[in-house]
């Protein structure tokens, strides 16, 4: 809150000093709050900075707190726009304007030294529930499977459970992680680990030389292309949410997110912009 206050003070101060005596003719500064998914937040944050650079009267604050927070905040009017990285339930979506801005895939990852290349959905289910206890049941690697699961409340967990038709209590986790980076680090430190993270995060880690590998699922290699063309099976949409009819500021943000600059931001963060996908 302090930051918000400080920024608005700063903004009005700059506006005053720039406009001087003609300050009465300057357009009013809008403070705009976006809350929700930490996966979507970097996109909106970067786009917001671009908007603020060209339009100093538009002040956008981006706060993370998970998809559910974003949805609840939007329907109760505690923000101007929400962010979600999971599909809204019918009762949640009621009265909201839900717009898909990008796609993200969730990839299964293992240690780089693990020669296993691909898994079927049934094998994934077996590994995470420890019905399959050793890697040699699914490939050339030997070793007791170490399961890395996501913490409760994270959209990635919900998408994963839903895709494989699992309940969280059936997963026999050896470690529970908060953010994607923690999952990548854990899997890279254990030759027998299996986990799942956002494809973008995994590709980014591999490009930095982190010792993990992506596992193909049901014969499809996870990549930005296979997520984009819809062939990779675990794809989720990234949404922005508005509470009502879009006003001028909502439009301004949305147009920028969906425009060429927004799409470039989305690609640079290793997500797939909607316009490029079927």
């Amino acid at each position: 809150m302090c930051l918000v206050l400080f920024r608005s003070l700063l903004a009005s101060h700059i506006a005053l000093s720039v406009c001087g005596c003609t300050s009465d003719s300057s357009p009013e500064t809008t403070r705009y709050l976006v809350t929700g998914s930490s996966t979507v937040a970097p996109i909106v944050q970067e786009v917001s900075e671009q908007i603020e650079a060209t339009d100093p009267t538009f002040r956008i604050d981006v706060q993370t707190g998970g998809s559910t927070r974003g949805i609840v905040d939007t329907s109760t009017g505690r923000n101007d726009a929400g962010m979600s990285s999971r599909t809204l339930k019918p009762d949640e979506a009621e009265g909201l304007t839900v717009i898909t801005i990008a796609y993200d895939g969730i990839a299964l990852i293992a240690h780089a030294d693990n020669p296993t290349e691909q898994l079927t959905a049934a094998q994934v289910r077996g590994l995470f529930t420890k019905e399959i206890r050793d890697w040699n049941a699914v490939g050339p690697h030997r070793g007791k499977v170490v399961v890395v699961n996501k913490a409760e409340g994270r959209a990635t967990l919900e998408v994963f459970l839903e895709h494989f038709g699992l309940e969280n209590r059936r997963i026999k986790a050896d470690a529970v992680i908060g953010d994607n980076a923690q999952g990548v680090r854990l899997v890279s430190s254990d030759r027998n680990a299996i986990g799942y993270v956002s494809i973008g995060e995994a590709l980014h880690a591999i490009s930095r030389g982190v010792s993990i590998r992506l596992l193909s699922l049901d014969g499809v290699t996870p990549s930005l292309e296979s997520v984009g063309d819809g062939s990779y099976p675990i794809r989720r949409s990234l949404y922005v949410l508005f509470s009502k009819e879009l006003d001028e500021r909502d439009r301004q943000l949305l147009d920028h997110l969906q425009g060429p600059e927004g799409r470039e931001v989305i690609s640079s963060l290793r997500f797939i912009p909607v316009a490029n996908a079927p």
Binding site: T64, G65, G66, T68, R69, V72, V146, A151, E152, G153, R154, N168, R169, A173, D174, A175, V176, I177, G178, Q182, R185, L186, S189, D190
Partner: protein, 287 residues
């Protein structure tokens, strides 16, 4: 309730110190009121899960917020086991090193040791978490063991500094009369120094334990965060505080309320730990 007492005391003072008394008294009351204030806030905010459907789940061994099952047992157990392990390592190691610095090492080494402990006790806990992540997790996996060792590293400097201070305050005459009686160095340490300082050593252990109970960030990096009863020292555990770190920001509804009770449990455990330490320490003094 407390204000009349302050007024009464203040009346015995001269006029000019009266305002000072009231101001200081108010600060004192504020300090005391903070504890019940925090407890009441947490209890009220978390009271939504104290109803008939959720209350019984608090005592279960399962933590599945998605199913609205909020078993605190594995979390409390995780907090207690990691802290106990940390204390179990930190106390003997800390005591040994301080005895060495105080009674055996040459003055230059003692100075070096004391200033090192000072620096270590000021390190943010996340540094120890990083150490555990990089050097221990790849070998042992995220586990009770690594969490305990990380906590031990974190609380050892605090415990050692307090122990050192206790040893420094031994009256000079005590040790001199010991020497005059012809006690050997081991006897001077075992029968004099450790006996005289025992209440303060217990208090030092209590302070260290309280720090360990409340640590969140460093533990979250290395404990594995699996909410289950650990079946061995290399099994993953989840503590009360790591649950808050991982879930609070993402929790809504009953889950969020349950997390307030988790926070309440941390405060209560720390309070119990501190009270026990003070009790034991004062008992030692009177006996």
């Amino acid at each position: 309730m407390a204000t009349p007492t302050i007024e009464y005391v203040a009346e015995e003072r001269t006029g000019e110190s009266r305002i000072g008394w009231i101001a200081l008294g108010a600060l004192g009351v504020l300090a005391i009121a903070m504890i019940p204030g925090v407890l009441i806030y947490l209890l009220v905010t978390g009271s939504g899960v104290l109803d008939r459907t959720h209350l019984p789940t608090l005592f279960s061994t399962e933590w599945y917020p998605g199913e609205e099952i909020f078993g605190l047992v594995p979390l409390v157990l995780g907090t207690l086991t990691t802290s106990a392990l940390g204390l179990l390592i930190a106390v003997p190691v800390g005591l040994g090193s301080v005895i060495f610095f105080r009674f055996y090492s040459p003055a230059s080494i003692t100075r070096l040791g004391e200033s090192t402990l000072g620096v270590l006790s000021g390190l943010p806990s996340v540094i120890f978490g990083l150490f555990g992540t990089v050097w221990m997790v790849p070998i042992f996996g995220p586990s009770l063991l690594v969490a305990g060792v990380v906590l031990a590293m974190m609380i050892l400097p605090t415990f050692a500094m307090l122990t050192l201070a206790a040893f420094r305050q031994i009256p000079k005459g005590t040790m001199e009369s010991g020497a005059a009686l012809g006690l050997r160095r081991e006897q001077m340490i075992g029968r004099l120094a450790l006996v005289v300082t025992r209440p303060r050593l217990i208090a030092a252990a209590g302070v260290s334990l309280t720090r360990a109970l409340g640590e969140a960030l460093a533990v979250e990096m290395v404990c594995g965060n699996v909410a289950a009863i650990p079946d061995g020292i290399t099994a993953p555990v989840r503590t009360l505080t790591t649950t808050l770190v991982q879930e609070f920001e993402y929790a809504t509804g009953a889950h969020r309320e349950a997390l307030h009770l988790v926070a309440l449990a941390v405060v209560l455990l720390a309070a119990i730990g501190a009270t026990l330490a003070v009790r034991m320490a004062s008992k030692q003094v009177s006996s």
